[in-house]
Symmetry: C2
Subunit: 407 residues, 2 copies
């Protein structure tokens, strides 16, 4: 079994890095807080006696190999340590620190793996500062040229490449330098399913498709007091229509489609001026690619109609688009088998969130293990998973890795 | 007649003061740009040979009096020189500079007024940085204690009093130190009526009531990918519902009510996080006090229902509330009479915008003169009034002042 006390202590410690003035956890990719989190992780990798490697997109690897198996494809574990704004302490960090805990447990037990085992912290999984999300693993899997990723402009006008240089994590390895034999990612569910059903282990067999767009509505600003309702072309109102359209459509459909408007801003943003511009984001997800395309088409046609009836100009920019992914059936079965042997119930399920495993699945057999999230809450300071579940999940990861690393 | 060339030249000159990096005019109350605009106005007052006075709320007065009439109540002209964000060059400035032009014309013509004539630039009429709007004239009229106004916190966290100190316009006169015999404010219409009807002069007989509120919706942030639509409590969506409610209600009513949501912000404002907080402003206006109250009540009851159905917390803060105002009937007739004598059509009308005259009407007989706004556009860089209309309006002001100052 893994060293539960040390895992929980490190989770708490990493969770204190990047607190803002209000005590909120904000460790955005490429920020000073991200650097501090990375430094802590690298120190733990070193204290575990592993080799440290950093690639050009800033992904960090802790690699356990010996001279006999050094050239074999490694079993890769991992996730990310960047966070959203006002984050919880488990999202991503739990998978990274558990991966390290698994390697430490195997080393301590004198286990002799047939191939290297490595733990990764991928850059910018959250995509909050730089879109798209899962960027480090996407680049790693060859889905985005590293130069293009490094040139991504952030919400604050910074460039990811420059920020990685600044914080000392623009590494020298070529992304993809380690070709994994298999990839396993342990993560909190971030949704309500496991808790509601009282099941401690999720054997994640697929992951829904993700479509991110930024929409801008433009028209003519005018005076809030003197412009009759009939003469208004109101960008803010048009944006609000899109929000209610998406919500009503997704809520009334009998499908798992989710639609979210997370960012919104008005210009000039003055109390007595009819907005001349509204900019907002749309996050659409569905486990079925056909249905996701249908939702995107429905939004596009709604926008077209709205532009005509409201006499506004609407432009759409694609920020991210990932098809649904099916994970490796054999690894999913290893997860179920490990749970069974430890006397824990497990459940095959779909991931609602995007994860690095979704990208690595392009280049290696991959799967994920979920543990429950209290109240289904994530991307929120109240994100929580009971300690017993955290420890159980890490031990399932240990068991699965023990099997894969022996092959 | 007034010196048309000089008036137009000063309008252009003042309109260049406070241009931002994008060439947009932004001269918010108490800012460095406001200081520069005030300095220019004060220099023009001095070059006209008038006495300069500044009161504690920063209102600037240029006073023409001689030893014989020094103690009589003055005819007061004026408006404001602060602007909205991305403003036009006429809103406010036109009334202030025309007021000065009228005094200069009377002086040049050797006119001997029976009472002093003064021109005022009132502080923070727009209310963009510090609510409420018309603050300088409101304080002047005794509607808001000066200490309270000076302690107003701005949208950027600054305090108006500190900003006035900083820019050197925290004057020493007690607000209200000049008790006007009458107040006349010349302004662009900022709406479409005069242009549409081809009438050059508006004789403004009343001004609609204004209700400003800031509304905050709060709930629990959660993950955009994992939270089923049925389990969401989405502050952003609730805010959007209010926007569409206000628009539909005002548009479908057969009344002049106008409703605007000009400011909107989401928190944490991240693409994959369901908003935990949405803050927005509501600007409601109606010329009829009973109807304005009914609209406020309808909004309050909608918010109550929304809080219940969406399971969100909604709080409301009042930023400004002014009842409709009826102007002095005799001055309105003087405006119509002056137009008739100059062979210009005029029209009695309601002001859709709030103005300093609305406040000064509490302490002195007041009225306003409007000139057309091209396309009805204001609070926008494209705000425009043809030069002939600008000059005609200033000459009507001259004629009305000539009558009042002889009394
Ligand atoms: N796991 C997670 O929160 N990933 C961020 C990408 C997403 O929005 O799903
Ligand atoms: N005239 C003018 O734009 N005043 C600002 C106050 C208002 O919003 O009506």
């Amino acid at each position: 079994s893994i060293d539960a006390a040390r895992l929980l202590e490190r989770l708490r410690e990493l969770g204190q890095i990047g607190r803002d003035d209000n005590g909120m956890l904000v460790r955005l990719a490429g920020s000073d807080a991200d650097k501090a989190g990375r430094d802590a992780f690298v120190a733990w990798i070193r204290s575990a006696g592993l080799e440290v490697a950093v690639d050009r997109i800033g992904n960090i690897f802790g690699i356990w190999k010996d001279h006999k198996n050094a050239d074999d494809a490694p079993v890769l574990l991992g996730s990310h340590i960047d966070t959203v704004i006002n984050a919880g302490i488990y999202d991503g960090c739990y998978g990274v620190l558990s991966g390290l805990a698994v390697i430490e447990a195997l080393k301590a037990a004198g286990f002799v793996p047939a191939r290297p085992i490595a733990v990764a912290a991928f850059t910018n999984e959250e995509g909050v500062r730089y879109a798209p999300d899962m960027m480090g693993s996407l680049v790693y899997a060859g889905g985005l040229p590293v130069e293009e990723a490094l040139a991504t402009a952030g919400t604050d006008g910074t460039m990811l490449g420059a920020e990685l240089e600044r914080i000392g994590y623009a590494g020298s390895e070529e992304p993809g330098f380690l070709k994994p034999y298999a990839y396993v990612e342990l993560h909190i569910e971030q949704g309500p399913v496991l808790e509601r059903e009282g099941v401690p282990i999720g054997a994640v067999e697929n992951l829904q498709g993700i479509s991110w767009q930024r929409i801008t509505v433009e028209d003519e600003a005018n005076h809030a007091g003197t412009t009759p309702m009939s003469m208004r072309r109101d960008a803010g109102h048009a944006a609000a229509r899109v929000v209610t359209f998406l919500r009503d459509r997704a809520r009334n459909a009998n499908t798992p489609t989710v639609a979210t408007v997370g960012c919104m801003s008005f210009e000039p943003n003055a109390i007595n001026v009819i907005p001349s511009r509204a900019t907002f984001t749309v996050d659409l997800r569905d486990p079925d690619e056909g249905r996701l395309q249908a939702e995107e088409a429905a939004l596009a046609s709604y926008l077209k109609g709205l532009a005509a009836t409201e006499e506004v100009t609407i432009s759409v920019e694609r920020l991210a688009r990932f098809e649904p992914v099916a994970f490796d059936r054999r690894i999913v079965e290893l997860v179920e088998d490990a749970a069974r042997k430890r006397g824990l119930a497990s459940k095959r399920m779909t991931s609602g969130a995007g994860h690095d495993a979704q990208m690595i699945a392009r280049v290696a057999p991959s799967a994920m293990i979920f543990v429950p999230s209290t109240g289904g809450i994530s991307h929120n300071p109240h994100e929580h998973t009971p300690e017993a579940d955290l420890v159980a999940g890490a031990n399932i990861l240990l068991d699965v890795v023990t099997r894969l690393a022996a092959e």
